[in-house]
Symmetry: D3
Subunit: 143 residues, 6 copies
C-alpha cells in the first residue's frame, strides 16, 4: 500500500472566536487569536491518498490532476481571503487548524473520487512551522 | 479523528555510552557518538495528540496550553543542558533519540491529560535533519 | 568584519491598498492583495548587525539582548495583529514587504545602538517562502 | 513501539513513459514528465524501521549501519544516474515516485533484516517539495 | 536601498561535459556529473532587484509581474527539460550552476527593465541544498 | 562576478565562558550558554568563493574539491567533538558563532587558494535556525 502526498499553499487572514460568546470569553478561550481585526498565516496543505499503483502508469493518482483539484477546491477559494467571512464552505465554522483540516477533507473527498480509485487517506493543514492538524479517515484500518 | 501536532526545540549536549561497558566496547557500539567530551544537537520535538474537536472552540487541544506543557516538562529541563548528567528523568538512560522519545512521552502523558481529553498519540524527537524517532502509543488501534 | 544575524517571526493580517485611490485602481495595482477583508502571512524577520567581536565575550552583539529588542520593538507589536490598523509605527504606510523592512529598520536602529557598538547592517522581512525584502544601510561601504 | 527514521538523498534524471505506448499516449498520460530527453530531481528518501530499543544500546537500529545500507543499496546505484536506463533493479519500471518507493522497499528489506530485529515500517521517496510517496508494509497492524 | 527577492523553481536534467574534450578528460574534470545519460535536480532560482519603493505602491517592483517574467523567461523554458539540449539560450554552454546563474541574469535583464526602474541586483541558482551560485551585477558599488 | 557557495554540517558540544572570569561573571555575560557541563548544536557552515567561471569547465571552483577541503579542514576536526577542548585551532578561543566564523575562515583560506583562483568571499556559521555569523573578507570592495 502506498500513500501519495501532494502539497499546496495559500495565504489567508482569520480570527478565532465563537460568535455565541462575548469578546471577554473569546479572549479567555482563544487569547491573541481572538483579535477581531484578524491576523493571518501562510497555510500549507498536504493531501494524502492511499492505494496501489495503476499498472499502466505507475500512478496511485495523477499528481497533476491532484494539483488541479486542490487548487480549484481549496486554494482558489482561500488564497488571499479572510477565512471567517469569504469562504462559502467555512461559513459558521471557527477556523481553527483542526476545523480547516476536517472541512477541507469533506470538500476534497467527492472530487478526489472522480480522479482516482485510491482513497483519500488524510488532509494535513499547517498553520505555522510549529502547528499542524491532520484529519484522517478510517481507511487506515484497511492496511 | 484528528491528529494535532505542536513543535518545540532545544539545544543540548550528549554522549552515547553504556556505563556498564568499557570505553573500547562503547566506541565499537556507538562510534564517534561515544566521545566522552560530548557533542550536541539542536533537537526538535513534535508532540501529537489525537481526538475530536471541541464544539465550543474547535480545538482538539488548546495549542497555547500544549506549548506551555512542552516548555515546562521538556524544554526548560533540557535546553542548554547536558542530557547525560543534568536532566532528572534521564538519569541512567542512554540518551539515544529512541530513548529520548520514550522518556519524553512518559513525562508528557500525565500533564497532557490535564489539559485535553484527546489522547497523546506520539512524541517525535529529531536529532538532526536526517534522524528522528517517534514513540507511538497504542491509540492508533482505535482509529 | 562579521555580520551577525538573528531571526524572529510573527503572524499578522494585512491588505495592500493606497487610501488615496479607489478600489478599482487598488485592485489593478495590488491584485488579490487588495482584498479589503484582508489576508495574512507568517512573517519572518532577520536583523543583521555588522562589527568586530568584543575581546572579552567574542560577541559582535549579545544575541539574547538582540532577541529581546526584536521581540519588544517588532514582534510584540505586530504578532497576531492587523498591520494596516493596529501598529502605531505603520499608520499611513502601505504594508508591502519593502515598506515593512524599512520601517522595522527605523524602529530597531536606536534600540540596537543601546546594546551594541556594531552597526545595524540590514533588516530582512520574509512574507512567504518566495518573497522577501532586505533594507540595507550604507554601512556596507565601510567594508 | 518506536519508529526510527533515517534520511538520505540523491540527484537523478528520469522520464515517465510506458514503453508499450506511443509518444502521443505517453504525452497524454504523463504530460511534461514524458519528455524523452529527460528531466530530473533531487530525491530524498526516508527509511523507517519500527521496533523496541535494545537494552544495551538504546537503539532500535544502529543509525550508522542504517546509513551505510541506504547508501550501498540505493544512493550509490541511483545518484547522478538516469533512473530509466542505469539502475539494475529499476529495469522495466516506470520511475514514478510511487514505483520508486515500492522498489526501494523491496531492495532494502533483506539488507535491513541483517542489521536489526526491527521491522522495515516504510520507505518514503520525495521527488520535490510538493510530492512524495510512502510505501508501507503491513507491520502497522501489529501496533 | 532595498533588495527585493522573488523565488521560483523548476526540475531539469543536465550533464556536465565539455564537448571539446573526450569522455576520459570530462570524467576527470566533472566526475559523476559527466555521466552522459544525465542526472538532474530540483533547481531553485532567486531573482533580486535593488531600488527604492515607489511612493504610490510601496513596491520596489511588482512581485506579480516579477513572478510572470521569471516564469516566462526561465521556468517555462527549463522546467522538465534537458538543459544541455533543449534550452535555446544554453546552447553551447556547460550547464554548471555558475553558468546558469550568469545566463539567467543575461536573459532576465532586458525583461526586468520593462517592469521596474529598480536594478537587477543578482540571480542566484540553487542546485541542491548544499550548492548555489549567485551572479551579481556591479550595482552593489552604488550602495 | 559570481559567488559560489558550498554547505556542510557537523554536530558538536560547546560552552561559552571566558576562562579569565569567574563563573558568576560568565553566567552574567553568557547566560545559559555558560553551563559548564556544556550544550550543543547542529552547526551548518557555508563557504563562499567569488570569482569568474573557468572557460574550460564553467567552474568558479570545483565543488567536489571544495567539499573535500571543508570536510578535511573543518568537519573532520569538529564533528562529534567538544569545541572548547578538542579542536586544535580553537584552543583559547571562546566558541561563539562569531569566533567560529572567523577561525574557520583563517583555516580555510590557505587550502582554498590551492584549489581555485577565486577568492574566499566569506564563511557563514549557523548555530540554530535563528542565529548565524558570516565573516567576510575585504574582497567585496573589488566588485
Amino acid at each position: 500500500m502506498i500513500i501519495l502526498s501532494r502539497k499546496a499553499s495559500f495565504s489567508a487572514a482569520h480570527c478565532l472566536a465563537n460568535p455565541e460568546f462575548d469578546h471577554a470569553k473569546n479572549l479567555q478561550l482563544f487569547g491573541d487569536c481572538s483579535n477581531p481585526s484578524g491576523h493571518g498565516h501562510n497555510y500549507s496543505i498536504e493531501v494524502k491518498v492511499a492505494g496501489v499503483p495503476d499498472r499502466d502508469t505507475g500512478f496511485v493518482a495523477d499528481l497533476s490532476k491532484l494539483k488541479t483539484v486542490i487548487h480549484e477546491i481549496i486554494v482558489k477559494k482561500c488564497d488571499h481571503k479572510n477565512l471567517n467571512t469569504q469562504v462559502d464552505f467555512l461559513k459558521g465554522v471557527i477556523p481553527t487548524v483542526e476545523n480547516l483540516a476536517e472541512k477541507f477533507y469533506e470538500q476534497l473527498l467527492p472530487e478526489i473520487k472522480k480522479i482516482t480509485r485510491a482513497g483519500l487517506y488524510s488532509v494535513m493543514v499547517k498553520e505555522t512551522e510549529n502547528n499542524y492538524a491532520e484529519y484522517r479517515s478510517k481507511i487506515e484500518s484497511c492496511f
